[in-house]
């Protein structure tokens, strides 16, 4: 893992920018790599003052497992929601849930909210200004506590472990 330096405040973002640039120009020529590297260094330098500090990733392997798990959940749960929409005899029970957050860092809360929105059946609707509760709208949930426990065990705990251990 590359350590952040004064001229390279966010190494991961720089890497991502370089990859995106190479994908955009669709070439691996030396000139394009050089230009991409220049942009990847210059853009974070120009803009990093606007951003919150990104937390340190403690366990990259767990992050990979988390991403794979979320992708799998998106697939499976999408099929469930598709069935809920198509099924003519459905009785949906939408539910507003106030989810008490365990995470404290703004960046990880953003990640959690995005994960919740991407996993079907739930959309994160509002984060309280104090950053302690997240309002979630569930498409079909009867048991509020079960939903909270599910999100906590499946998504929030791994995130906490990855970023804030």
């Amino acid at each position: 893992m590359i350590k952040p330096r004064p001229w390279l405040p966010t190494p991961l973002l720089s890497l991502l920018l370089l990859v995106v640039w190479l994908l955009l120009v669709r070439s691996l020529a030396f000139g394009q790599i050089l230009l991409g590297t220049f942009l990847a260094v210059a853009i974070p330098l120009a803009t990093h003052r606007f951003w919150d500090a990104q937390p340190h990733i403690a366990k990259p392997w767990l992050l990979l497992r988390f991403v794979l798990r979320v992708l799998g959940d998106i697939l499976i749960a999408n099929i469930e929601v598709a069935w809920l929409i198509v099924n003519p005899r459905r009785r949906l029970h939408p539910h507003f849930v106030e989810y008490p957050l365990m995470l404290k860092d703004r960046f990880t809360i953003t990640l959690l909210a995005n994960t919740i929105s991407l996993t079907p059946g739930t959309v994160s609707a509002n984060l309280r200004m104090d950053g302690k509760t997240l309002l979630i709208h569930a498409l079909n949930a009867r048991d509020e506590d079960a939903l909270i426990a599910h999100i906590r065990e499946r998504y929030e705990r791994p995130l906490k472990e990855i970023y804030e251990c």
Binding site: L23, N78, I116, L135
Partner: protein, 130 residues
Amino acid sequence: MTLYVILEGVIAFFLVAGGVFAFIGSLGMAHLRDFYMRLHGPTKATTLGIGCMLIASMLYFWVTQGKPDIQEMLITLFLFITAPVSAHLLAKTGLHMQLKHIDETGGRPPELRPEEIGEKPVPHPDRGHG
């Protein structure tokens, strides 16, 4: 030869799956009964549908042009990053405008507090404004 048949089948499968998911997402948006439920269809099913189609396109051009090209991944990545953000903002807008939700909806009717929507400019929670 058989390899091409199998690949063709895979591409066709992804294409049809993408179309079906995109359609179901829009169907959910068209006929569910309140705004918050309508929000669920497009943000997820449609995004997954586009993902499937882009995978199909990626495979197709890989097979026909003979070299891998993952430019489509950019669109997929972009959509998967932006879809939750716009869903969140739309849900918040709905809450702010106090749209009706159907009677079966469980849980407390949500209220936005004044500091979440009210006076501007909103100070940054950590540093204050300016």
